[in-house]
């Protein structure tokens, strides 16, 4: 479904990505842990097609249409209401006019945003904005989810809800790449783990039932006090 082969990228002389290779299938969730500056966001942008890598190829079944991106910025327009935002993004992704409204309502319901639905996006709290951002990312039913530090700034409750939702989405067959610098956050969700440092994977493999503590230890060892 999603594969990267020998992807390398540089900013000037600074090596940002170094021969990244992996494949991701339906239902798999890859959690990439790494310190700041390791190249995690760059890799995600390359996977999304926002950056053309210097070397290597990325193959994504369905192209840009199949991607849902959730970052720490909501990508919503402040003055427009939640519903208006969702309808706009749906139209850009060519979601058929007839189904746009129903999908928007469905997602608003699923994410508990009924009361905020007709409020301008700028009036939302951080947690509400994050949920609206998730709705925006899902409005076109993407098969691949790319998540860039999605738990940033979320309180415990919101983070737990996000974890639950991501689990459901993976169970329904989506491939997910989750990038974070915090090992505790992504562990339960992941089917596969990668540790990243200075642009390359220093470790890559299935989670194999390890829990957050074990992974944190392995991470520290592999990345060295990250």
């Amino acid at each position: 479904m999603l594969s990267a082969r020998d992807v390398s990228h540089a900013y000037g002389s600074l090596r940002a990505l170094d021969r990244i290779t992996f494949t991701l299938d339906r239902g798999q969730t890859l959690a990439i842990f790494g310190p700041n500056g390791a190249g995690k966001t760059t890799l995600l942008k390359v996977l999304a097609g926002l950056i053309q890598p210097r070397h290597g190829t990325v193959q994504l079944a369905g192209g840009r249409r199949a991607i849902g991106w959730i970052g720490h910025q909501s990508q919503l327009y402040g003055p427009l209401t939640v519903v208006e935002n969702l309808l706009f993004w749906a139209s850009l992704y060519d979601v058929p006019k007839a189904t746009r409204r129903t999908r928007a309502d469905e997602l608003i319901g699923r994410l508990g945003l009924e009361r905020q639905a007709h409020q301008p996006a700028r009036t939302l709290s951080r947690g509400q904005a994050q949920r609206a951002a998730i709705a925006r990312a899902l409005i076109h039913d993407p098969s691949v989810l790319l998540l860039d530090e999605p738990f940033t700034g979320l309180d415990r409750v919101a983070a737990e809800e996000l974890r639950r939702l991501l689990g459901e989405l993976a169970a329904a067959g989506r491939a997910t790449v989750l990038v974070t610098h915090n090992v505790e956050e992504g562990t339960e969700l992941a089917s596969d783990i990668a540790f990243m440092r200075a642009g390359h994977f220093v470790a890559f493999g299935p989670r194999a039932g390890r829990d957050a503590v074990a992974l944190a230890a392995a991470y520290r060892e592999a990345v060295g006090g990250g």
């Binding site: 192209g63 327009y77 996006a121």
Partner: protein
């Protein structure tokens, strides 16, 4: 393919129009500014010293230029707020659609301000505009399109730099001049009752300028948003 291109561009433009309609800040400030400039010119002139009709073209076009700059400033601000620009770049629409959408929205705003400006102008200054309204509107359109195309392109870049509001006028000034000179010349000749044949050359220059720079800006826009 082309249909999709235009359709997506229209979606982007429509979104910008909704946004502006919701907040109304840019258009309001541009309209107020236009009125202010015209009032200042009205009070500052001495009708016995220089006939209005000699000053009129310059006044009109200075006003339009400033108003144009003001509306350009808003072009990409909304996209930066919550990184919506990244969302637009991720979406399955071409960069060209994005650019044309922005361009159409900008032109719509500028058009509103220019029409209001023209009406105020005829109100304040007793100048025979109505006889020549058609070629006057034509020159207003032609003198604006190319400039706003370059302005939209530059505002995409400038929005991510420091001193964005200062940078845009500095970069745009040289591009303002050829259409501005042409516009003032044509307006002067039109208001002075000169035959249309005398301004044909200027119209051709404006048309060439517009075609060139709309094309160039469209081609260069992707370079401003890729990484």
């Amino acid at each position: 393919m082309v249909v999709d291109l235009l359709r997506h561009a229209w979606l982007v433009a429509r979104k910008d129009l909704y946004l502006e309609f919701r907040s109304r800040t840019a258009i309001t400030s541009a309209l107020v500014f236009t009125a202010l400039v015209l009032v200042v010119f009205e009070h500052g002139r001495d009708p016995t010293a220089v006939a209005t009709i000699d000053l009129a073209p310059s006044i009109l076009w200075v006003t339009f230029s400033f108003a144009g700059m003001l509306t350009l400033n808003r072009a990409f601000n909304a996209e930066l707020e919550n990184q919506a620009l990244d969302g637009l770049l991720l979406a399955p629409i071409s960069r060209t659609s994005l650019f044309w959408g922005k361009l159409v929205a900008n032109l719509a705003f500028v058009a509103v301000v220019q029409i209001a400006g023209l009406l105020l102008f005829t109100l304040f200054f007793n100048v025979p505009v109505w006889r020549v309204w058609a070629p006057l509107v034509a020159v207003m359109i032609l003198a604006t399109v190319g400039f706003i195309a370059v302005g939209t392109l530059f505002s995409a870049m400038v929005v991510r730099t420091r001193f964005a509001e200062l940078m845009l006028p500095v970069l745009l000034l040289p591009f303002l001049l050829p259409p501005l000179i042409a516009a003032v010349e044509v307006t002067a000749k039109l208001l002075g009752g000169r035959p249309l044949s005398e301004v044909a050359g200027w119209f051709r220059l404006l048309a060439a300028f517009d075609v060139t720079f709309v094309t160039l800006a469209t081609l260069l826009f992707p370079a401003t948003v890729t990484e």
